[in-house]
Symmetry: C2
Subunit: 227 residues, 2 copies
DNA sequence: GCCCGTTTGATTGTATACAATAATACACGT
DNA sequence: ACGTGTATTATTGTATACAATCAAACGGGC
């Protein structure tokens, strides 16, 4: 039962890793609002650890831009704004297109099989309205796409963005209309990859993101770009 | 003489910040080769600090993917491969295109003026063959473009990539042919932004990266994609 | 001689102690 | 009453002490 062989820089078994993951989720889920000050001792007591792992987690969160540390003063939550979310979707639309294009040449047999299984399972859970499973399968589909791109850099980047918009994605996929439509689009991307058609793969993955973006706006999940 | 008002998460006045910057440069410049083990105490002694700031720097480097930390074992240099560099240039070609497009609408008068000055100065230093200044001006031109995009997310991302390929860029810009050509391309991008032409701006910024990419390959600075 | 368990050393993970810094409160003088 | 300088306190920055873990050396049994 080998488990967690990769574990990309989060390390859920160390205190520091747990503090980092927890704080990150809490910020991305909106538990800590913009501008809130995070005190090392308070966070440490809340999670039952000393300042050391908390500090290390803070430094990582700062690098990700989720908090801002002012030297000798404190750590303040930055979080992500509606504009950030919109920007991320535009960036993702371009980069996921690239990932799909590259995946055509680099996907392994195992990855392809898991993708097919993923789409098949998602169809089932969509019918049943199992939102939690739909969310997890959507997560996995995109992760698979990133891994299949064969680019460590691109994979790393897209996984970050994927995490960042976690809260909004949860809402989006729960919608009666978007959930099923999203899975149909996954299926189309998968078909293009199977058929070794990079242009279609890129275009479909690009459109997939644009559609998700439009859905967000149309359902008022985030406010549209002001001009 | 206000200085370092922004200081994006590096903090050069704390020990941790200095250790981080130093290690990052050393890895990106190739001082520490792939697979080398970094010991907290050794690095600490080398830089005259204790383990604490070194550990915090390690955690940040891990998040950036420049080292890999195996729990209870050690930290190993990952660095960036030739493939990573190639991938980054492809990603940059797309994202810098986007930055240039967005800059058309978001650039401030001050940023525009500094860009014009930048291009003008670069022309001078190119004639004189001042490679160090050319490098700094190239740095600044791209940073300005990122800032002018008006997107915190995109700016953050592109600055990271820009840092990552620092070593290769130093070599590239020193070449007799690429230095002047690069500046001409900067000028063209600037013109498109001034003329409020997003399509041209995007296309030119995209081509600028592709040209830099081709130059790298043609001059044997990195090995081409194997197929 | 080889295999396997134990011991030992080195290194990281965590907690705490101490130093430096910054914000606030307070007292003093005007 | 107001401003200024100082003292106090809270918080972060850094160093060190201790615990846990891993790996390699060692030694006994076969």
């Amino acid at each position: 039962m080998e488990e967690d062989v990769k574990e990309g820089a989060s390390d859920k078994y160390s205190l520091r890793g747990r503090v980092f993951s927890r704080l990150r989720e809490d910020i991305l889920n909106g538990k800590y609002e913009e501008g809130v000050e995070l005190r090392e001792i308070a966070i440490g007591e809340e999670l039952g650890v000393s300042r050391t792992p908390v500090r290390e987690a803070f430094r990582q969160l700062e690098l990700e831009g989720l908090i801002r540390i002012i030297p000798n003063k404190g750590a303040y939550v930055v979080g992500i704004s509606d504009k950030d979310v919109r920007d991320i979707y535009i960036l993702r639309s371009r980069l996921e297109g690239l990932a799909a294009r590259w995946a055509v040449d680099h996907i392994t047999k195992e990855q392809l099989e898991e993708m097919e299984e993923n789409v098949y399972l998602a169809k089932f859970h969509t019918l049943k309205g199992h939102t939690e499973q739909i969310f997890e399968l959507d997560n996995r589909f995109h992760e698979l796409l990133y891994e299949a791109s064969g680019s460590k850099i691109l994979e790393h980047q897209l996984k970050d963005y994927h995490q960042y918009v976690l809260r909004i994605r949860k809402k989006t996929l729960s919608s009666k209309a978007r959930g099923p439509q999203s899975n149909l689009e996954h299926e189309a991307i998968l078909e293009a990859i199977k058929n070794k058609n990079p242009d279609d793969a890129e275009r479909l993955a690009h459109e997939h993101m644009i559609n998700a973006y439009k859905n967000m706006i149309d359902n008022g999940l985030i406010k549209p770009e002001e001009k």
